[in-house]
């Protein structure tokens, strides 16, 4: 799993019920301090969805969104497993490494 994919998955997990494009983007930006584009967020979400790691549900469409519905994402069990595998691999590899 790529680095940005992990960031997105983790953001979804942190946000829980309230995870949609804007909150995910802000969460990553706020915590990592690097500017993130919607293009990057949504292409990653699209890829994760294709892999079966996340799923979405449509929310309400408000006037300030130009009448476009929100898309809430949540992490599927397969996604959790993949994320855990990645974390495990990284932890193992990091053991004893000093930079």
């Amino acid at each position: 799993m790529g680095e940005f994919e992990q960031l997105v998955m983790l953001a979804l997990l942190r946000l829980g019920e309230d995870a949609y494009g804007m909150s995910v983007r802000e969460e990553i930006e706020r915590r990592t301090g690097r500017e993130v584009s919607y293009g990057a967020v949504y292409t990653t979400l699209d890829r994760l969805e294709r892999k079966g790691f996340v799923a979405h549900a449509l929310g309400e469409a408000t006037a300030e969104r130009g009448g476009r519905a929100k898309k809430f994402f949540r992490v599927l069990p397969a996604g959790r497993d993949a994320l855990r595998d990645t974390q495990r691999a990284l932890t193992v590899m990091w053991e004893g490494v000093r930079l």
């Binding site: 949609y20 494009g21 983007r25 919607y38 293009g39 292409t43 969104r65 130009g66 519905a69």
Partner: protein, 867 residues
């Protein structure tokens, strides 16, 4: 953005934008939004490319190749981003080149390539007669009737008689153009009326009905559904509206562009049976099934041969010519636009040459990198792909930028296109232009990318590595680069020579003496018509009063009328000169332009009296009326004799003699390019009741126009003047089209020279830069600066000489194109050509002298250390 996510992403962005406006203010939020859009392009493009590879249904190998291409594109993109100067130069060059070509193609396509907007328009023909006056004039009524009867190739033939009418009964009377057509015309054209009915053959016997064009119905008559059955007043006579034609419909006519007839009236049969010798009706026809223009031409030849045998008097020397409507209406302008497009294409080719040169030089700089790649096992194909993908990427981005540029360029072009070019309002960048832009970009990529890629990939491993980064072009590449430059110079010469010839011929045309003044003269059309004008007397009274009243306006120095203004065509007939043998056939004898003048016409136009006297009121009432002729007629009619007092006639049986009372200077009646014809000026109305008022005045002509208009309306409020223009503007307008294409081609030639100079400069600079060490050694060994400069400049000159030699061959090949477009000079003017060669040689010398001088200024020590 992935299609499924687009909506949500846009919604999120909108939501956050609103939040940010509240938090940070409008400007900051906008900046943020723009950054978001900009930064999303990359991920979105990569995502799309990734999906393409995933969903590719090809074999494993194909998928691999595809992925390799995408990878190469990614590499190419990074490489180009690392060299913004190089990339920007190439992109701007390509964008301008592709953009200009696309815009011009858009114009060419709409104006020329688009068919005439009528069903199966490729079957529509214009048939003209050819006789003593050359090609091509209208047919006579009886000839037309015989064509209808005897032809075996047309499914329908209609005859036109374009006329201008005064539309009265409105708050302001208005001049509009319309045409009489035979009853079957709309049927033949294949267009049904929008409302009501078309004209029918029966209408020809019972005139009094009219079919309106969509524009007239909508604009002048209010566009109401109840228009059918109402009457419109034309020249004071009421006509019943029986139909309205759909929008965009028009009857093609050889003398007007599509879209100019505002109404259609039924032809009156008696007009068609008049004189076989009087030619005034253009004919439009539709080919029958399985017929072609050629079979129709053969058919018409047969008919005209028969008619010549039957009526030797009138038809002895006449034939007919068949044209497609498209070639007749748009052929000429198509040729000019094609030439401009060709010139733009040449500029694009030259620009491609430059880009190719840049890429070659860049490839040379990467020799070591490529050698390493090859050493690590990259196949030749992989290296070509890598190098070519860079060119392809440049071409694609350049093409897209060019397309964007073409939108702006086409608006600019529309503003400067001369109004005489048809269909201007419909010019746009359409799907075809898009295809053209993409095609042009792909072509340029192949041209400037493929050859350098192929050559550069043929790396000599050992040599490259041994030289340790000392990169020069291998001889084959050097030769190729030189070939590009030679080609550029050659193309530049062809274009520069063509442009110089066009400019010269334009200057020659403008500079020549038309035989009359243009300064301080205002002109307008008068067309008295209606119930008040039943006999000649009424017309004479109208014109006399107009001349009197206009002449009395303060500031007017002289005023006159003429039936046809010089430069704008006329009417003519053959004459029998008294004392010569009687004529066998009506077409024999000198062909003479017939013009009627009134008032002080000659003084107004500054046409000099050479002999005898000008016209006097009595001239029109005598039994052998007095007329003034021009010098050319005097020379043709009475060579070596005094023409004064001599007589001639247009009719034979009995002759109606006209007596020459004066000779005036020649004017160009048929246009700036046509030599003066024999011409006579009669003091009365002959063949035409309409005339142009010519007014010479001191001071502001514009301020005078309303007063002239008033004076005319005082004489008859129902006869407003139309087509008001100064003589200067009219003359200027006749040059508009020529000026337009001359200017454009001259601009392209300048661009071509500039690009060729840049090419030479680039090549020679490169040569110098790569040989700094060699030049340094030479100087350290005592070579003088002059010698070094000479060495470098000689290189430039050698390229120029080759370019000029090949260019001369190109010039020779292009003479046939240029021939038809130049006036007063030959298609090959040795002086112009020599000038062009010298100019190009000078450009080459200058472009190579700059880097040479720079090289000399480098101290030898530095030069030696440069490696």
């Amino acid at each position: 953005m992935p299609a499924g996510q687009r909506d949500a992403a846009l919604g999120d962005a909108a939501e956050e934008f609103v939040l940010r406006v509240g938090r940070e203010g409008w400007a900051s939020a906008r900046r943020w939004y723009r950054r978001q859009v900009w930064r999303s392009i990359g991920p979105a493009a990569r995502h799309r490319a990734g999906l393409l590879v995933e969903t590719w249904r090809g074999t494993e190998g194909e998928r691999e190749r595809m992925a390799a291409w995408i990878n190469d594109f990614r590499l190419a993109f990074r490489a180009l981003r690392r060299r913004p100067g190089f990339s920007l130069t190439v992109l701007v060059t390509l964008a301008l080149g592709v953009g200009a070509n696309t815009a011009l193609f858009g114009v060419f396509r709409t104006v020329f390539l688009e068919p005439v907007p009528l069903p199966h328009s490729d079957q529509l023909m214009i048939v003209m007669e050819q006789g003593g006056f050359g090609c091509c004039g209208p047919a006579s009524g009886p000839d037309y009737l015989d064509w209808v009867e005897r032809n075996r190739t047309f499914s329908g033939l209609t005859v036109l008689s374009p006329t201008t009418f005064t539309l009265t009964g409105l708050p302001e009377p208005e001049r509009i153009s319309g045409t009489y057509v035979t009853g079957s015309a709309f049927d033949m054209l294949g267009v049904a009326p929008l409302m009501g009915r078309a004209l029918l053959p029966e209408d020809q016997d019972a005139p009094g009905v009219v079919v309106l064009s969509y524009a007239l119905w909508k604009n002048q008559l209010g566009g109401g559904q109840d228009v059918l059955g109402t009457t419109v007043e034309l020249d004071g006579t009421p006509y019943t509206v029986v139909g309205v034609m759909p929008e965009g419909f028009d009857v093609p006519s050889p003398w007007s562009q599509m879209g100019s007839f505002r109404l259609y009236l039924p032809f009156q049969n008696e007009k068609l049976t008049e004189n076989r010798g009087s030619h005034s009706f253009p004919v439009v026809g539709r080919l029958g099934p399985a017929q072609t223009k050629e079979t129709a031409q053969a058919d018409m030849d047969r008919i005209m041969r028969d008619l010549a045998a039957e009526y030797p008097q009138s038809n002895g020397d006449r034939s007919a010519r068949v044209f497609t409507v498209h070639e007749y209406l748009f052929g000429n302008v198509g040729k000019q636009l094609g030439l401009i497009l060709g010139a733009a294409g040449v500029v694009l080719l030259i620009a491609c040459g430059n880009v190719a040169g840049l890429l070659l030089a860049r490839a040379a700089g990467r020799e070591t990198e490529l050698a390493v790649r090859a050493a690590l096992g990259a196949s030749r194909r992989a290296m070509v792909r890598l190098l070519f993908s860079e060119a392809l990427l440049l071409a694609l981005v350049g093409g897209v930028l060019g397309l964007l540029f073409s939108f702006a360029a086409i608006d600019g072009l529309k503003a400067v296109l001369p109004p005489s070019i048809p269909r201007i309002d419909r010019i746009r960048v359409d799907g075809w232009a898009l295809v053209f832009a993409l095609g042009a970009s792909a072509f340029t990529a192949l041209l400037f990318g493929m050859v350098p890629a192929l050559l550069a990939s043929r790396t000599n491993l050992a040599a490259s590595v041994k030289e340790g980064g000392y990169a020069t072009l291998a001889p084959a590449k050097e030769r190729l680069r030189n070939a590009f430059i030679v080609g550029q110079i050659a193309l530049g010469l062809v274009l520069a020579n063509g442009a110089a010839l066009l400019v010269q011929s334009y200057a020659a045309l403008r500079g020549q003496d038309f035989g009359f003044d243009t300064d301080g003269i205002v002109t307008m059309a008068l067309n008295p018509a209606g119930p008040r004008y039943q006999d000649d007397e009424a017309y004479v009274t109208f014109y006399d009063q107009v001349l009197q009243r206009v002449g009395a306006i303060p500031g007017v120095t002289s005023v006159g009328t003429i039936s046809r203004l010089p430069l704008f065509g006329g009417m003519n007939g053959s004459v029998w000169v008294e004392g010569t043998p009687p004529r066998q056939n009506a077409g024999e004898g000198p062909l003479v332009e017939v013009t009627s003048v009134n008032g002080d016409y000659f003084r107004t136009m500054g046409i000099p009296l050479l002999k005898g006297r000008l016209l006097e009121p009595d001239d029109s009432v005598s039994a052998a009326p007095g007329v003034v002729i021009n010098q050319r007629f005097a020379d043709v009619g009475w060579p070596d004799q005094d023409p004064l007092g001599k007589r001639f006639s247009f009719d034979d049986n009995p002759p109606q003699w006209l007596t020459v009372v004066g000779v005036v200077g020649d004017v160009r009646q048929w246009g700036p390019e046509q030599a003066p014809q024999a011409q006579m000026y009669a003091p009365f109305m002959l063949w035409s009741s309409s005339a142009y008022l010519t007014v010479r005045a001191s001071g502001d002509l514009g301020a005078l126009v309303p007063r002239i208009r008033e004076a005319i309306q005082e004489v008859d409020p129902a006869q407003p003047p139309s087509d008001v223009q100064t003589m200067e503007a009219r003359v200027d307008r006749t040059f508009a089209q020529r000026r337009f294409y001359t200017t454009l081609i001259a601009l392209f030639a300048v661009a071509a020279l500039f690009l060729a100079a840049a090419g030479v400069y680039g090549t020679v600079s490169y040569f110098v830069a790569r040989r700094v060490r060699e030049l340094g050694i030479r100087m350290a060994l005592g070579a003088g600066g002059t010698g070094i400069v000479g060495l470098v400049v000689r290189r430039g000159i050698r390229l120029a000489v080759w370019g000029v030699l090949i260019g001369l061959a190109g010039v020779w090949a292009s003479t046939r194109v240029v021939e038809g477009l130049v006036y007063g000079i030959d298609a090959v003017e040795p002086l112009t050509l020599a000038g062009g060669c010298v100019a190009l040689a000078l450009v080459a010398v200058a472009a190579s002298a700059l880097p040479a001088l720079r090289a000399v200024r480098v101290p030898p020590v530095l030069a030696l250390r440069s490696e």
